[in-house]
Symmetry: C2
Subunit: 507 residues, 2 copies
Amino acid sequence: MSFRQAARKFSSAGFLTSERYPSLKRGPFSRLSDAHVAAFQKILSSDQVLTDPDDLAPYNVDWLKTVCGQSRIVLRPRTTEELSAVMRICTEHRLAVCPQGGNTGLVGGSVPVFDEVIISTSLMNKINHIDPIAGTASCQAGVVLEKLESALEPEGLMIPYDLGARGSCQIGGNISTCAGGLRLLRYGSMQANTLGVEAVLADGTILNMMNSLKKDNTGYHLRQLFIGSEGTLGIVTQAVIQCPIRPKSTNLAFLSLNSFKDVLSTFVLAKRSLSETLSSCEMMDSACVTSVEEKLGIKCPLENSADSFFMIVETQGSREDHDAEKMSNFVQEAMAKELVVDGITANEPSRMANLWQLRERITESLSKDDYIFKYDITLPLAKFYEAVEVLRRELAPFGNEAKVTGFGHIGDGNLHLNVTASQYSEKLAKAIEPFVFEWTAGVGGEHLGRTRHGLQESQVPQVRQVPRGDRAHAKHQELHGPARDIESLQSPSAILKMIIGADIVQR
Amino acid sequence: MSFRQAARKFSSAGFLTSERYPSLKRGPFSRLSDAHVAAFQKILSSDQVLTDPDDLAPYNVDWLKTVCGQSRIVLRPRTTEELSAVMRICTEHRLAVCPQGGNTGLVGGSVPVFDEVIISTSLMNKINHIDPIAGTASCQAGVVLEKLESALEPEGLMIPYDLGARGSCQIGGNISTCAGGLRLLRYGSMQANTLGVEAVLADGTILNMMNSLKKDNTGYHLRQLFIGSEGTLGIVTQAVIQCPIRPKSTNLAFLSLNSFKDVLSTFVLAKRSLSETLSSCEMMDSACVTSVEEKLGIKCPLENSADSFFMIVETQGSREDHDAEKMSNFVQEAMAKELVVDGITANEPSRMANLWQLRERITESLSKDDYIFKYDITLPLAKFYEAVEVLRRELAPFGNEAKVTGFGHIGDGNLHLNVTASQYSEKLAKAIEPFVFEWTAGVGGEHLGRTRHGLQESQVPQVRQVPRGDRAHAKHQELHGPARDIESLQSPSAILKMIIGADIVQR
């Protein structure tokens, strides 16, 4: 199967990333030769080196099937040492690389753009150690989130975050992309919960920062730099995660509301009323829920009018009776204050799972028949939904051909902003960008992951040749240095040059 | 008043730091001249430039009154711009500096060793903004912890950490030293809760990293490097702190136990039983409590035999009835399992405050009449109290002349290890160090702050000339580069050289 065939078979867009974004230029890297393959085969066994085009195809296409790379090789190291040896060879021969975790990212960051060597962490799937007293788990980067969660369950512990992609996404990718997920407001960010990291730099250097103590004050917190650095500083190979006590009871309220103002007031009430038990607070607009209903045949249990808003409020705690009473009091108060139009509560796992589908399967439903422009932005809460409204006004001339929807984590100000259309259109793309980035930056927000246009890295480790370059980033880059690319990743000094200033040269 | 007089008046040791540690050498820095003072006076008003020896004395001596510097000037900028201008002058004229926050540190890091210019953040005490919806507070570095806490109270919010020094310690110092405190196990570390930082580098460059979003994934998490870097990378000037909902109810149990094994089992039980409400879990050995009883006249309400251990278990929640029931069930279970010998519970603020004194005033009581060697170490929980037992065996030859005691945050594995003696003794000092550092490193622990011998920075921002150099750090330094000193802080490239490698030179 050729790359073009793969693109047609796997990608809804039907063409290669490099054709979609002609402005992206391949860097001055080597082309993969038989000698390179032989060098890799010397250190890896045959099942760890994939070169058959049929085997390569799924690694070249992202989960949304909207971008398609042209890598000719996938390497699957089992150990840190193997990965280090692979990186040494790549650096020595100037081969660009694209690290890949579970390939569950939604912003095109997990697949190559050109012919980068794909380094998959999938075989690095060993759980090293679970410490039930301290509440920590140490594992390799390729361990799948759900697998680690299952291993923690018998110990009465849990992973402090949860994502829809839990069945495929990997711990290393979660760290490298600083995954937030559904329970950030309760258990904190990856910065809070990643106690230790081991990473391999571009030249193969292994950096051991595998602390497992909750309070680690010795030296600089270098491991924090690797969290969310999307592999540009190195590839995360192992980690220690702080694991809270597994809740004994979970309660959920599914609410409908009349306005975003009421969503905000209900969020504040939930924080104050549910306090230490609040574990998730999510919002979806009517159009998102309609999409799940229509495209996936899942019924919304509450009336869904065009200007409805919906919320999922979840609590986790240690006493079913206490927790149910708190949730019931919260819903009653929200209704008494007329913040909420209607609501249902649930605490049986299957019922809760059904209600969660109305939130977790939105991306799947939006991308089902349509072309989707997807933006992942963090906003001050007062501006959270204004992003959707402003973009709707901006795209009014497109009529039904551009549907703007919004949902996301109200608890941490993270909005998933989507524009769906029946097909890709250059005119629509130009109407959305850079407008959406400029507006976001203008209201003090941040753009977390950029899809399609610009292909910002996200969701998996990245040592890529694609620069991060949208205008919303410009201010930040001014501070932190130039855009990252593989060029500047060939030496530690160049990495650091990006961090603080430009007055550094390599010896 | 001369420095020697000041040392005699203020320091229990009665002599200057530079005399106590003759191995510490002053770097090749300029001596303060009238021209320097005039330059500072040009940018600061007269009350911001202190040169009168009487005014200087309290800035030269630490809170424990055991180290005494010889600075001839204290500068008190009010704004980031003023502090930046001060740093520019210092760099230009090669004047060493010692940033100082609340000067509440216990490890001698907040005062100069030689004649460093003291840069006090005390007048940078403005609270910029409190956002009650998002739950964030933005303030200058010199805001006192207790003052910010008071400002948050009417908004129903709180600071996510608490320290005994709350009445004097400053937010900038808390960040620069990565303060842990009494509630880390509930609300997380400074890395988890510091959303934004503004810092001034050695050359006066202002680095604005004042994010206030809970999820910040844009660019590298550079602000994280400043947390706990003790001012060696720059001086923190402003910050944004994440503020949780203020609890409506607090419950406390004061417990006595027979062994450290029981302390550990009780901690695990508390985590599982009190779960989301557990806010603090502290342990003290019998000797610590005896010291508070004898030196401060505070009565322990439970029987205190020589091999007793005590614990404070605190919960914070939103429902008094639920929380009291959880606490009562926990204590009953702990007693039924015979983990706990005796216990009392309390929820009236004054009663709880009294019980907290048995923990919070230990350092004060231990240092009252005696000379104290104080070590702040983080240990794997299984080894937590072994540190005390091992050191007791090691110091057995000293008999009653060396009393080893231990207390600390069992929740995050942070032990305060103390050796008290009637007076300073070189022989005793040599018996303790480097033994204690080597043993700690040997069991996988970490030494957080070093007192007296080596004078590691802690508790305030530091751009100092004292290298961090104890053996427990050696392994870490191997990884992160050479010890930090003011020499290498004169350029960003040199700062970065320390972070990853040695292959960087300044242009």
